[in-house]
Symmetry: C2
Subunit: 500 residues, 2 copies
């Protein structure tokens, strides 16, 4: 490394340290912050000061000059340093293009919008929120225009979450998926509807915690550089040097904690597998939201809801909860784990219908950005799409268009990541089973190292060297497609419920 | 407030936010950081980046110019803004005088010194550590010289912890104290030595936590803007907007957790009582280490070890630990709480002999700085003073000169705060009993609001407006003296043990 590279790296890592600190403040806010008003006001000030500093350091003339100097050197764009410079440039250009006046205006609106959304959802009153959402949308268009996407603003928002993704390519995938998934999901729902499954009740929380930790550790999560705590909304934050998962406990809903923990552990395993040497640079970061989601989903669903996984863990589960499970058969337990049921709420949906919830939102976002749809028409459009995709109607807006927080915080183009993550997870799973023919027996034996190493080789270790589409090709030898997810859902759910 | 004042205040508060963040990173390090190497390396980098930024912002030309502009306005030095400008100036002058080259050199040495000290203590090998301590001492002299204390370096270190304190005034207090405390402590030790007290064993930790929280809450600690967690070393960090106490649990030592929690809660109550409006400025900060310590000690000792406090809490204590306490009489329990016993280790010492441990260190520090004593002569000097002050001999250096971490981190002039805090606590207690004649009955009734309000009026609400000596005069109408502490110890301990 030349001296110039070393200086640049050190500055980049300093800025990254500030970002890590901001993320820790966010974690602490969710996990530890005392409930009073003054702790939360103080925390908001701290984070605002840090955000200003990060922006100032990142966009400083000195830093830009150093980047430019390095860009003038001959560096292969596929080599480590090439990737770092490319990614820093991409992010810096964006940071510079968006004026700080706009950032402040957007932040002020977001805080208002969040509170308006909460109130509207509580009162089931979309009309009160519509004018606010109108402004949010306008700001999102404005931001895209600053970044050079005046003609295709939705592309900007997709690219923010998953570099390289565009409206057209996502639409092609989702259209192909829904053609088959709508009838498939109705068929599975029809079969599953005839099952009578028992409710899971009275699972002591301290025992749940014991179980979760054993499971999460067995997946390969390294607790010597990570933790698991309690927060209202489960999430994973930090990086591979200090990875923090959160979960929540409900004595009458042990599967929620369990699968959200496995999900977050999947995110954590990705973070812990990113190249440690390059932490503090883009090369040490994830390749985007959808790739991140593929890692959480593959552990949660393909592994965690599999027959093999439960052959392994059911005895221990029964050992920890002998009373709660005494009247529940193995088959009923497994079906409850893989329950498919109509649900208007995305976050409560099963893995079959979940993807249709996402497609619904993608189609609405696209229509909003293209101007085909007005904000005021959202509730009707929601109903129409829910009918077509999910064969259900939300009782009210709180159960429909007001259910998600994302739009209130100005996050457009985020929902698609969830479904793209599922597509990638299924495609990776198919390839992994080809590459490791004994994969399912290994899972049944609790030997997850081989699979984790495979994910590491295919995904983790590459950081952001490749984008989602490139990484998919690299890992699976094929372009990202919709078929593997359909095959996976058919295999798992038709087999399970056709036994009825 | 003028516009200039508002701008200055906002910058000052931004710098303070960064300091708060650094403190939170420290708290998280003690409470949450995963045990591996990479979390701790990453945390060190984060804190280093933040320290550099804080220094840069605080000493920036822009900030200095703004301060100077305000200093040119006519502001009464006793008014809020006068205090803020005075204190910012005092700290800024110090920060500017000490070159960053020196700060880096000192930080590098401290890290080495800490490891050398740990190793030396483990191996009971002072000789290996002596040359390192020599350098630490030299750096401490150098720092004092930068700050303008070339001729009286120890004054600099005292003033760092307790503004306004000087070697001579501390020596006068400590000399007067030891003349009477040495014989008094021997007399109490003699009486106490004839007691046979039971060991406290098997106090379930979850029950201890219940008890501690009830006690700490009853003192007035506000959990809506504070928390209590577990750490190896108990401490209090944060400020009144978010006050974080830590404690530790040992089933066979419930009094350690209890009294260290009350102690830390005392610090927390001070922080929560500082003027909220001025948090982020020196006026919202404590008046120094010794004043802080007076607040922790007065709750721990004067209140927490009193007969009245135990009349109130003993029933609940027995309710929570019926088995562990079944064979222990009330009187034996109370004596165990007020145990006085010879101990070579300061942190394990009772409140009678504790002060002599501090005086020992103060005398040694003074001699080191004046040049009367060489580092190599420390072990012998330690033995000689331990004999004279405590009537005991450390078995080895690990139990003597190597027992404390302070010198290894370059903290000289810190120990005296502990004893000065005890002096002030006793003097405040005497005055409080005069001002509130029913004080002890209130404590027996668990009604601590009046006493907390009294402390608030006398100490808390003044922030750093007055220094230790001024605050003592303000609160008690008398200069800081040694007599109240002696009277308090005599009253409590002679009465208790002469009953034998």
């Amino acid at each position: 490394m030349t001296e110039k590279q070393a200086t640049f790296l050190s500055e980049l890592q300093s800025i990254s340290s500030l970002r890590q600190i901001s993320s820790l403040l966010g974690w602490d806010q969710q996990v530890n912050l005392p409930p009073g008003n003054s702790p939360s006001k103080q925390r908001a000030s701290q984070r605002a000061v840090l955000a200003t500093l990060i922006h100032r350091e990142f966009t400083s003339v000195e830093f830009q000059d150093k980047l430019r100097e390095l860009e003038q050197m001959e560096i292969d764009s596929n080599e480590d340093w090439g990737v770092i410079l490319r990614e820093v440039r991409r992010k810096l250009d964006r940071a510079i293009k968006i004026p700080s006046e706009f950032v402040a205006r957007k932040a002020a609106h977001q805080s208002r919008a969040y509170h308006a959304w909460r109130k509207a959802r509580q009162n089931d009153d979309f009309a009160s929120y519509a004018p606010i959402l109108e402004v949010t949308l306008q700001l999102a268009r404005e931001e895209a225009a600053f970044a050079g996407y005046a003609d295709n603003p939705y592309d900007y928002h997709l690219d923010l979450h998953d570099p390289g993704m565009e409206t057209l390519s996502v639409a092609k995938l989702f259209d192909a998926l829904q053609v088959e998934l709508v009838p498939l999901s109705q068929r599975i729902l029809g079969l599953a509807g005839t099952c009578k499954l028992p409710a899971l009740k009275n699972f002591p929380v301290t025992q749940q915690e014991v179980f979760l930790r054993e499971v999460v550790e067995s997946l390969g999560f390294d607790f010597s550089r990570g933790r698991m705590d309690v927060a209202i909304h489960p999430f994973c934050s930090g990086n591979g040097n200090d990875t923090r998962l959160t979960t929540r406990y409900d004595a009458d809903n042990p599967l929620d904690s369990l699968f959200s923990s496995i999900h977050e552990a999947g995110h954590g395993l990705y973070e812990q597998g990113l190249p440690a040497k390059w932490i503090g640079t883009p090369l040490g970061e994830a390749a985007g939201m959808a790739v991140h989601e593929s890692q959480s989903r593959i552990w949660e669903n393909q592994v965690g809801r599999s027959r093999q996984f439960w052959n392994l863990w059911e005895p221990r589960f029964r050992e920890l909860f002998p009373e709660a499970l005494s009247d529940i058969s193995s088959e009923d337990l497994f079906k409850t784990i893989n329950l498919v049921t109509p649900n208007p709420i995305r976050v409560d949906a099963d893995e079959v219908t979940y993807n249709l919830h996402v497609i619904l939102r993608f189609e609405l976002e696209q229509a909003l950005f293209s101007g085909e749809l007005e904000v005021s028409e959202l509730p009707d459009a929601w109903s129409e799409k829910a009918e077509r995709l999910l064969n259900l109607q939300p009782k009210n807006d709180a159960e429909g268009v007001l259910q998600d927080v994302h739009w209130s915080s100005g996050s457009f183009g985020y929902f698609p990541s969830y479904c793209i993550g599922n597509l990638l997870a299924a495609q990776l799973w198919e390839t992994a089973k080809e590459d490791i023919p004994e994969l399912e027996s290994l899972i049944e034996a609790g030997e997850n190292e081989r699979f984790l190493a495979w994910l590491d080789e295919k995904i983790h270790r590459h950081g952001s060297r490749m984008n989602l589409l490139e990484l998919t090709e690299h890992a699976t030898g094929k372009p990202l497609g919709h078929a593997p997810l359909l095959r996976y859902l058919e295999e798992r759910y038709l087999v399970l419920y056709e036994q009825n």
